[in-house]
Symmetry: C2
């Protein structure tokens, strides 16, 4: 019998990974709000840089998780993590005792909220290294990368997580399982913490220009994140900074997700990426003056955006 999967927050990322799971034979339904009408009628058209083009017709297209009439084996949450997003409220009505709750989201220390709300469910933390855009309602373009990393909370890899990993692998996407996914989340933050805010605060520079002009600043930020991760009990590999620097030089110039949100007037993941890192540092008694400054500046930038709104 095929796996029953419910994707909540089926925009570019959720639609893309949901479409892959459907390709792999799972019974995939979606909750999507803004594009509901189009997706309900036509499903998604997905155009991938390396996995072909296909149409993804979800089993059910829903406006609310509570409308899902089955017992999900996996509920995969793919929204952004912003202050106005009630992640628990979004999924609560579709969570059954056997539902594994998977969240493919950015940021550090975003686990507690879900752990507290669903103490008896399997919780799977996921990271996507992917470049996906929503072109218009129901149209997704997969531009580059795609690797997923999954792992259970607080640590380890369950059989159910292994199974999900296999489904993604069958669909042709690289998916690795991690015994310490919390460390993986910090590791991703080593890249996100400099490039996301710097792209916004610079007024829109792509990654390569930032790195070329201010490599020393980027390295300082990366070191602060690495030190916070270690203080939180998740030491990262010694080469984590060097690898991130070299990879970014090798990447094509790239607009970060925070910059795209900024340009579109959407809420930014400031708290998930910067605020939570700064709070972890304060809790551990670690100084992170550069992150503190970036965080304060992003809060000022957000205040300015709000003050411009009618």
């Amino acid at each position: 019998m095929s796996d029953k999967i419910l994707i909540v927050g089926a925009g570019a990322i959720g639609g893309f990974y949901g479409g892959l799971l459907a390709k792999a034979g799972a019974e995939v339904s979606v909750v999507c709000r803004s594009d509901y009408d189009i997706v309900k009628q036509q499903g998604y058209r997905i155009d991938s840089c390396d996995l072909g083009k296909w149409r993804f017709m979800p089993e059910q297209v829903l406006q609310h998780a509570g409308d899902y009439r089955k017992d999900a084996d996996y509920l995969i949450l793919c929204t952004k993590v912003t202050a106005d997003m009630d992640r628990v409220g979004l999924i609560r009505d579709a969570v059954r005792p056997d539902t594994a709750i998977v969240f493919i989201q950015n940021g550090v220390e975003i686990e507690a909220e879900l752990q507290q709300a669903f103490p008896d469910n399997q919780l799977v933390s996921g990271l996507a290294f992917v470049c996906c855009n929503r072109l218009q309602a129901g149209e997704i373009r997969h531009l580059a990368y795609g690797r997923l990393m999954l792992g259970n909370l607080p640590a380890g890899i369950s059989a159910k997580t292994r199974h999900l990993q296999q489904l993604f692998t069958q669909a042709g996407i690289e998916c690795v399982a991690s015994e310490d996914i919390v460390a993986g989340r910090w590791q991703k933050c080593v890249w996100n913490a400099p490039f996301n805010p710097l792209s916004v605060l610079s007024g829109g520079l792509p990654t390569l220009a930032i790195l070329r002009q201010q490599e020393a600043l980027v390295r300082r930020i990366m070191r602060e994140v690495r030190d916070i991760a270690a203080a939180c009990g998740h030491p990262l590999n010694d080469d984590v900074i060097e690898t991130n620097i070299q990879n970014t030089y090798a990447m094509p110039p790239y607009k970060t997700s925070m910059l795209l949100d900024f340009e579109r007037g959407h809420a930014m993941e400031t708290e998930a990426i910067l605020g939570n890192a700064v709070r972890a540092a304060r809790r551990q008694g670690i100084a992170c003056p550069t992150l503190e400054t970036l965080y304060a500046l992003m809060k000022l930038r957000e205040l300015q955006i709000r003050s411009q709104c009618p």
Copy 2:
């Protein structure tokens, strides 16, 4: 016989103070480039919040300092201090052996360039605490404040500086003389270093909003400037931060000069205000992580502005 004064860079600040000196009976000429035609014809119309309205007809209106045919008692330089401004070249041809060179400009550690070029002249460092706008060519509005601080380099107060102070005082503007004007410059930087870059990097917030939202950040920046000043041999008063914070809460919300330059697409005084402070810290072996971050961000912002230009 009246004092012969040449103002170089006679925009809002230079025109305003030049107009005051003319009121006090000095023979004031100006070098102004962009508004030359209008000022040559009509002089300046100055509208002050507390010193009335008057027309200031300069003795001579010139396009180049070298066109000045007299021996200036005082040459007062009032341009911005930006990378593309050759301060020495602007004034060299009008400097005579007895000319006191006065610069009323923003920033720290901006003295050396002039000291090296004119080792035998009296050098007077000046700070203006004033809010003046150029409304259009030849029209200046004085909005608030106006206090001047003058002092000789490397320190002390000469008779010639006292005399200039008296001229300003006669004209109705508060003018104090300082035995340690270099400390005065650092003291002004305690305010400039946070509010100027934060106003730009926040996307345009006025001073009060910045302070209300991020007082802790503002205080961190102020402490770093205070510590650099002390390391450079210019310890500031213990209450310098508290006074600046309270004064800023009491001021009407204010757009900084750097924000005005930014909005008008003009060069910003990033190096004079931030870069020089950071370099002084590095020279003294003092850490200033917040200033380092602001400075790097301003350089990224400037890079982004240049990359937008055709």
